[in-house]
């Protein structure tokens, strides 16, 4: 028996595969399943997922309920119901403690209910406040809970509120009649906002705040930052005003390479993270292909046969994508080696 191949950690997938391929009998398979994933693990998983799904559905249901215009329901009943829910959730979180997942989810629920309360209050008394005020006020009011929660989902929710408030502020205050031709700054500012959140998250993880360590959160933030900086860069590439008006300032494309190179270096050297590196390189691949396509189809179609451009561009896409995939495989292998002690 080769010992080294049996030194690999075993998971449920491996056990199932070995059974399917006939290496384990039905009895051995059932016994192995119980060892690898005992009922206690199944129960713990089910409790966690039921809590997440159940709470998400219940909170969504409450939102739907108050979005329906209940003409027959008095304002005190409406506000009272939400307040009761809010207080119950906050007290529940306090009683259970924030070291427990249930406590954290209850605090998240209280945070959501606070926003619903503010929305219903604004709807009932017609306060005349702009929508951005609701989201910014909501984010400000729950900030204390967010800080003490040690719960990544609540931090993400808070960031979503800030993003929404920021977008609405731009639409309702900075450019209420949509008169500005330059809409790119809002994306750059959103990129900066989420970029700061990303850097703070990485520093916090390094400092030992493990609750922010989830791969999903890092991936989501990197995607948000890259998307926000990519949109202005794309607008420079596909500048429709170029032929008949003021061109889009090339300055809007400048932050993207700076951010992409900076992020690449950080995630390659400082905080090694293959998923982030892959997202950055795939994003770069997209922008490079868009730039080449724009140059080819707009710059040279009068000089060459258009059909040749189609063929050449197809080959360029394949070449650039292959190069990116090749590079990613190499980097992944190198990073895996670097991780091995």
């Amino acid at each position: 028996m080769n010992e080294s191949s049996l030194d690999t950690p075993v998971d449920i997938k491996t056990v199932r595969r070995l059974h399917q391929e006939g290496y384990l009998t039905d009895e051995a398979f059932r016994a192995a399943l119980k060892v690898v994933r005992p009922p206690s693990v199944w129960f713990a998983w089910a409790e966690r997922q039921l809590l997440f799904f159940g709470s998400a559905l219940l909170l969504s249901g409450i939102m739907f309920f108050f979005a329906y215009n209940w003409a027959a329901m008095g304002k005190f009943i409406k506000l009272g119901m939400i307040e009761a829910g809010l207080v119950a959730c906050a007290l529940g979180a306090y009683k259970l403690g924030l070291h427990k997942l249930t406590g954290k989810v209850l605090l998240l629920s209280a945070s959501v209910l606070l926003g619903i309360l503010m929305a219903v209050y604004g709807q009932t008394y017609q306060t005349g406040a702009d929508a951005y005020e609701l989201f910014v006020g909501w984010a400000v009011l729950i900030f204390g809970w967010v800080v003490i929660s040690e719960f990544a989902a609540l931090w993400l929710f808070w960031l979503v509120l800030l993003n929404t408030g920021f977008i609405l502020y731009w639409i309702q205050v900075v450019d209420p009649v949509h008169s500005l031709d330059d809409w790119q700054p809002i994306f750059l500012l959103l990129g900066a906002l989420n970029g700061v959140a990303l850097v703070l998250r990485e520093i916090a993880v390094k400092k030992g705040f493990t609750f922010l360590d989830g791969k999903w959160l890092g991936g989501l933030l990197v995607t948000a930052v890259l998307t926000a900086f990519t949109v202005p860069a794309m607008s420079v590439i596909f500048d429709h005003h170029y032929y008949y008006g003021e061109p889009v300032s090339i300055g809007y494309a400048v932050p993207w390479p700076l951010v992409a190179v900076g992020a690449y270096l950080c995630y390659r050297r400082l905080w090694p993270n293959m998923l982030a590196v892959a997202l950055i390189l795939m994003n770069a691949c997209l922008l490079v292909l868009c730039a080449i396509g724009r140059l080819m189809f707009d710059g040279h179609r009068y000089y060459y046969n258009e059909e040749i451009l189609f063929l050449v561009f197809a080959l360029i896409i394949i070449a650039v994508v292959s190069l990116t995939a090749f590079g990613l495989k190499k980097i992944a292998a190198t990073m895996a080696k670097e991780r091995t002690p």
Partner: protein, 365 residues
């Protein structure tokens, strides 16, 4: 929740497993594991990049063939498509480096489109028109099945079945215009996913089809939800029945119950209190909730049970997206929607409470 941390060797030497092992099982498993190490799979981000890249490149290839007027009739399209497919197969067999693989994938996509387009034109010439989408669907079914068997690309094997379901959905909504057909599509997707997950070896040959089916099931439900009412003032269906989603909800509830019973080891486990609670809750969900909730729950269970993180991620991605789409579903009032969603949430939390009590008792026992 993480599984117990064990190496394969420790598992095989575990006192609860060892009695059931045959004499040479451990050696056979060791050599099997060595083989697995020799052929590592591309990470998912590379597969996504390759798939999108090849698909866009194939569009430009088709654009080249179309604009250059190399192909003037249906027979020409079929012949060119077959040549592209043959080249794709040749490249896939002979070359392993990245560029030829990518080129091969682009040729496969372009070849598929050319052959299907050519077949469609050919069949429509000899028959009356009005069934274009059905002809397209059948042509793609034939081509996709053939290429799926012959062409060993994970990306193609994922994308081609997806295209089949998309064409089927367009056919149902454009040519048939009967909402019931969508329930049949949901039933087909659910059965296929169940059979593939529970009754096949889930080899590399099957795995992309599992992922494609798992992706299309929620996507079909999105479409059904969005088109129950007028979609941007466009009435897709001839008529929408009362409780339009009920058949799919009932079928999916049955599917989740079957999944639970199979995963727990069959009818002999039906006396377990927690399983009874889970099954009753699923039945109740089948009576009043929206099918989106059941699909999310089903994918979550399947993802965890089979250790397939893609299915788990799909469940987590699908639920919030579905809730947003459901909010805009036109033929149900917000009050009803609120009842369905909040009721489902309460039910799941109740199940959690009961399971928690049961698991505490188990631990104490």
């Amino acid at each position: 929740m993480k599984d117990a941390t064990l190496t394969l060797g420790e598992l095989l030497n575990h006192p609860e497993v060892t009695p059931f092992l045959r004499e040479d099982d451990a050696d056979a498993i060791a050599s099997r594991m060595e083989k697995r190490d020799e052929a590592p799979k591309d990470p998912i981000y590379i597969r996504i990049l390759s798939g999108i890249g090849a698909w866009v490149a194939s569009l430009f290839l088709i654009g080249f063939l179309g604009v250059s007027r190399i192909i003037t009739d249906d027979a020409g399209a079929i012949v060119t498509g077959v040549i592209l497919l043959a080249t794709a197969l040749f490249l896939a067999k002979k070359c392993t480096s990245t560029f030829p693989s990518q080129l091969s994938l682009a040729f496969a996509f372009a070849g598929n489109v050319m052959v299907v387009g050519g077949l469609m034109e050919l069949l429509l010439h000899s028959h009356s028109s009005g069934n274009e989408m059905l002809v397209l669907l059948l042509s793609h079914a034939v081509v996709c099945t053939t290429i799926y068997i012959l062409y060993p690309s994970v990306v193609y094997r994922f994308a081609a079945p997806l295209a089949f379901v998309i064409i089927a959905t367009i056919w149902a909504s454009v040519e048939v215009e009967v909402f019931w057909v969508m329930h049949i599509l949901v039933a087909g997707e659910m059965l296929l996913l169940g059979v593939l997950l529970l009754h096949t070896r889930r080899s590399a040959f099957i795995q992309p089809l599992i992922r494609a089916t798992a992706t299309m099931l929620p996507a079909t439900l999105f479409f059904m939800n969005l088109t129950q009412g007028a979609l941007l003032d466009w009435h897709i269906w001839k008529a929408i029945p009362q409780n339009a989603m009920l058949p799919s909800t009932a079928m999916l509830a049955g599917g989740v119950i079957y999944l639970l019973s199979r995963l727990t080891g069959g009818p002999q486990q039906f006396r377990q209190p927690w399983l009874i609670v889970a099954m009753v809750a699923t039945l109740l969900l089948g009576l009043f909730t929206t099918p989106g909730v059941l699909v999310a729950v089903g994918l979550l269970i399947a993802g965890y049970a089979f250790g397939d993180r893609a299915l788990t991620a799909l469940a987590y991605l699908f639920l919030p997206c579905f809730l947003v789409v459901f909010y805009y579903a036109m033929n149900v009032s917000l009050a009803q929607k609120s009842g369905m969603i909040a009721g489902s949430g309460l039910l799941l939390l109740l199940v959690r409470f009961l399971i928690q009590r049961y698991s505490v008792k188990e631990v104490e026992a």
